[in-house]
């Protein structure tokens, strides 16, 4: 891990129009990704956590321009030169695809049911204009690396289990040896007993192939396990960004605290230790004014709903989007205690 940036995301935004009526008039926007800025360093694993609807999947898709971003820059520091993905030409995009790949969440829907494993894995190679024979040879070379025997090459996805499919999906991402891989919830659709296999595989591959990961998940324990740094998203915005230690132990944002407290502890002797965050995630169509978290935050003050806080550097690369990040004492039992409910 180094401090050399491999990807710089600057003020990235994606608004989806909400259209109503006969003439598809745009009545509002869903701010799926709202002014997101962060940097990924070479060789690290950056975890991205948040609840559903927080925009983490849209962010991942924007990074690869599978969804066209509306604003901002995504600078990829490639092997030869740096280039802005948002404004890249078609030819440049092909180069981006060679350097940056994605692993999808659902191994059942992300493989074309009518393609054999060889064809699925070879797809990025074929797109890079590499001959079929050469592509097939490289696929056979790569399959053992992801833990699949050569006999899998001729199988169809429906003949594979979830874990095997996810290995195929990983092989497809790695076939062009990209330095940067975006993993969009790669284990959340898998069986418990298979999850740790895939996590182990991702860890191994990272050290073997010098990969950089952007690892998206809603499961905090897994993100904590695999990431060097973690970014927390809420309603399209980054609310906290820092090293795993900073985010898990020295968190400065009330939402981070709430998220950590909501995670269930897999230990029956430690029941009722967590605290429950009240309320629902507000609709991203009309997010609360000011700080988006102000409606659920136990510390919210007048200023919070009036003025939108900026993502501020607290030192040591620890960024927090909260007006009162310095003052709040988050160690106290701030949220509604469990006893009040049951």
């Amino acid at each position: 891990m180094s401090d050399t940036p491999i990807l710089q995301v600057e003020h990235l935004s994606k608004y989806f129009p909400v259209q109503r009526g006969l003439f598809r008039k745009t009545v509002a926007h869903v701010k799926a990704v709202d002014d997101v800025t962060f940097t990924v360093h070479k060789g690290e694993c950056l975890g991205l956590v948040g609840e559903s609807g927080c925009g983490k999947t849209t962010l991942a898709r924007c990074l690869l321009r599978l969804v066209e971003p509306d604003k901002g820059r995504i600078v990829l520091h490639g092997e030869q030169q740096a280039l802005d993905i948002v404004s890249a030409s078609r030819k440049e995009m092909l180069d981006v695809r060679r350097q940056m790949q994605i692993i999808f969440q659902d191994p059942f829907s992300s493989l074309d049911p009518r393609w054999r494993v060889t064809d699925v894995v070879a797809e990025p190679l074929i797109a890079q204009r590499i001959g079929r024979a050469e592509a097939a040879r490289r696929v056979l070379e790569l399959l053992p690396t992801v833990g699949l025997g050569a006999h899998f090459a001729d199988r169809f996805p429906h003949e594979l289990s979830g874990g095997e499919r996810q290995r195929v999906s990983i092989a497809r991402a790695l076939i062009v040896s990209p330095p940067l891989v975006v993993a969009d919830e790669p284990v959340s659709a898998l069986d418990v007993s298979v999850r740790s296999q895939i996590i182990n595989l991702l860890l191994d591959l990272q050290s073997q192939m010098n990969l950089t990961y952007i690892f998206i998940a809603h499961d905090l324990s897994i993100v904590k396990h695999i990431s060097h740094r973690i970014a927390v998203m809420y309603l399209g915005q980054l609310v906290e960004l820092g090293t795993t230690r900073q985010v898990f132990e020295q968190y400065r944002h009330p939402y981070t605290k709430a998220l950590l407290a909501s995670a269930l502890i897999p230990d029956p002797t430690r029941r009722d230790e967590g605290y429950v965050l009240e309320g629902e995630v507000p609709s991203p169509i009309n997010p609360p004014s000011g700080c988006h978290f102000s409606t659920r935050c136990p510390f919210a003050q007048e200023r919070c709903s009036a003025e939108e806080p900026a993502l501020r550097d607290m030192g040591d690369g620890h960024w927090v989007r909260c007006h009162f990040a310095e003052e709040l004492d988050l160690s106290e039992e701030i949220f509604a205690p469990v006893a009040a409910l049951g």
Partner: protein, 378 residues
Amino acid sequence: MSAITDIGRPTSDVASTQPVVSRGRILAARIMANRLGIVGIAWLALTVSVALFADFFAPYGVDHVHEGALRAPPQRVHFFREGSWRPSRPFVYGYKSERDPRTFLTTYTEDPDQVYPIYFFVQREPYRLWGLIPSRLHFFGVEEGGMIALFGTGRLGRDVLSRVLVATRISLSVPIIGMLISVILGSAIGVASGYWGGVADILIQRLTEVMMSFPRIPLWMALAATLPADLSSLHRYLGVTIVLALIGWAGLCRQIRGKTLALKESDFVMAGRAAGSSTPTILFRHLIPNCFSHIVVVATLSVPGLILAEGALSFLGIGITPPLVSWGTLLKDAQSVQVLTKHPWLLAPGVLMVLTVLAVNFLGDALRDALDPYSQIR
């Protein structure tokens, strides 16, 4: 690194226990479970093979005229000679005609003196199979000089059975070729419209809506009427096929567009784009193959409409014209009420049309049920 080899260990021992039932087998089993579907398939297989070898199955050529047997009723096949209990080679009797002195109508009865035994694989009238292979072989026939008309004869004394069999060729090929053209048009336009969206999509969708809101028969008639009258019979055949296809694609296009819209957002298409695949690859290798089962069902269910349309146009005289024969042109002979009461055998092509339409519908329903992911048979 030992951990790596452990993780990298192929999971083959477990994978080999994954399900072994192929999609094809499941599909076949689901179709076989549908009785009506089987009936449909059997009937269509029969009709198609008859159509392919119509000249062989037909005892006579389309224009062979039986002198003195105009609108003669179907002959019965007999197995026993008169007064004998020993079965003999199947045979038919010739006709004895009588003219009603008041109505001038001729009535035909069996003439026990004329016995024509039926022989199989006989050398009779010459023909060219598929226009290429010269042959004289017919499936069955009677001795030269005799006559056999199992479906009776028509207005000019031509054998109805032979004409119906030969007509099968046109009556099946027009809808099938028309369907293929409309499938190619409809799925190409539908996939493109769904994938790109935007202005093109809106224009295409409005066009299909306009096409679909015209009443069909008048539109067909209008288009068929634009075919020049002096067109040769063969060109006319092609023209009719294209007219039918031009109207049929709209419905398919809409369905395929809907399917594309759904598939376009699917993860594997997203993954294809992330892999860097070009748009043609996405369209032709991801989208269309995954729409295929849908296309097959919609296409199959569109065939009955085309069969009926060809029949209707030809019946009205603006479809297929002589010397080509289709079920529709044959039904022209059955236009009067008199036919129903006195010469019902002239309706044979109509009966065949009904049976074939039913069969295709059965097949289509069976396919739809078989391809339904929520089907109970797994």
